[in-house]
Amino acid sequence: MIDEGLRTELSKQGIFALKLEELYNWGRKNSVWPLQFGLACCAIEMIATSMARYDLARFGAEVFRPSPRQADLMIVAGTVTKKMAPQVIRLYNQMPEPKYVIAMGACAISGGPFKQGYNVLKGIDRYIPVDVHIPGCPPRPEALLHAFMTLQKKIEDQSLTGAQRPRHLDANAPSEFPIPRFGAHDLEPPNNPDVWHPPVAVRTD
């Protein structure tokens, strides 16, 4: 390992000494391109985030791609109805690795105000792995920026080798997730047990 003081001294002279991993992650975390799609009112806040006042471009994520083939990040912005869920998962499957998901807002993380409705999925994390959850109805643009910075931190901390390496560097890790079918009464299956297990609900009564 290079000495920290030496590294600082070198950087003053315009010489940057770092690990390949750091360079790799630095490049990736500053060019995360989101997929351009929205599902409900959260999408309006997502659009506001990308505009001049909040300026998502500062984080290298201003290029909302209209094709999943060119996108790195899926911002699930809004209510995922059961009728829409297979399409959302299909879009996720069509994105190339490495890919990330931000579940934005109460609906996308849990079903939100429509949780007990007959037609709303109780959180997109039942079918695809979610990296960052943001509560809010809708979350303010600052919250989305915070989620984005959290994701950048997560990318920065990834190690390229070892058991904890990210999914896109693991040949055995899945890149696509099963798309639920429209059943007679509900989506089939109602969740993907490889991705989601019901957490323990803590009751205080």
Partner: protein, 211 residues
């Protein structure tokens, strides 16, 4: 605009043999409505739209109501002789009413600037006989709303140009707005459950895993 009674007699004159009934409304709005027999509905709707004094050219809203089988209680005052003295006694009579599905249309006139007139149609029951005539041929705007009622209540509109589900998918078998709809049991994780939801969530207790 004329009163509902006047409208009713005008309709009875225009459509011979039409069976109409005024449904009272006890609520503060007092908006009464006109119950129309399914067989006369198209003729009545056509008259409401075309008659020069009425011109109800705009169906602003179409909705459904699910009425389950019910026992209606009526209070009647009956004179009875009790211990040789005649007294007025209130008696409660119970009546069984078979369930049905109801469709409600709210009509306005853009041309004459009056309304609303509310007409209702009822199906024979909630099981097999759920057919009603579609009023989409009269008011084009009913198309999507009748599709929605078909989807959520299961009323079959005869004469509808494109009767498909609109919110749920093809192959879905239930009608979620019916009062006896049984939803899928996906209450595995309810962190803020209360009342009914809490009861349903308790069945899943102990299944959760520590994240």
């Amino acid at each position: 605009m004329e009163t509902l009674e006047q409208l009713k007699s005008r309709l009875e004159a225009a459509v011979p043999g039409a069976r109409l009934e005024i449904i009272p409304n006890e609520s503060p709005s007092g908006q009464r409505s006109l119950l129309v027999d399914a067989n006369d509905a198209v003729a009545i709707a056509k008259f409401l739209r075309d008659a020069p004094q009425l011109r109800f050219d705009y169906a602003s809203n179409v909705t459904g109501v699910d009425w389950l089988d019910a026992v209606l209680k009526e209070k009647l005052k009956v004179k009875k002789v009790v211990d040789g003295v005649e007294k007025e006694i209130e008696e409660t009579i119970e009546k069984k009413r078979a369930g049905y599905l109801e469709v409600v249309y709210h009509l306005y006139s853009m041309e004459l600037k009056h309304g609303p007139v509310i007409i209702r149609m009822r199906t024979e029951n909630r099981g097999e006989k759920v057919h009603l005539p579609s009023l989409t041929p009269i008011w084009r705007g009913c198309e999507f709303q009748e599709r929605e009622i078909f989807d959520l209540y299961g009323v079959i509109f005869d004469g509808h140009p494109d009767l498909r589900r609109i919110l749920m998918w093809e192959g879905f078998q239930d009608h979620p707005m019916r009062k006896d709809y049984v939803e899928p049991d996906d209450y595995e994780y309810e962190p803020t459950a209360h009342d009914d939801v809490l009861e349903k969530a308790k069945k899943h207790e102990g299944q959760g895993t520590v994240a």
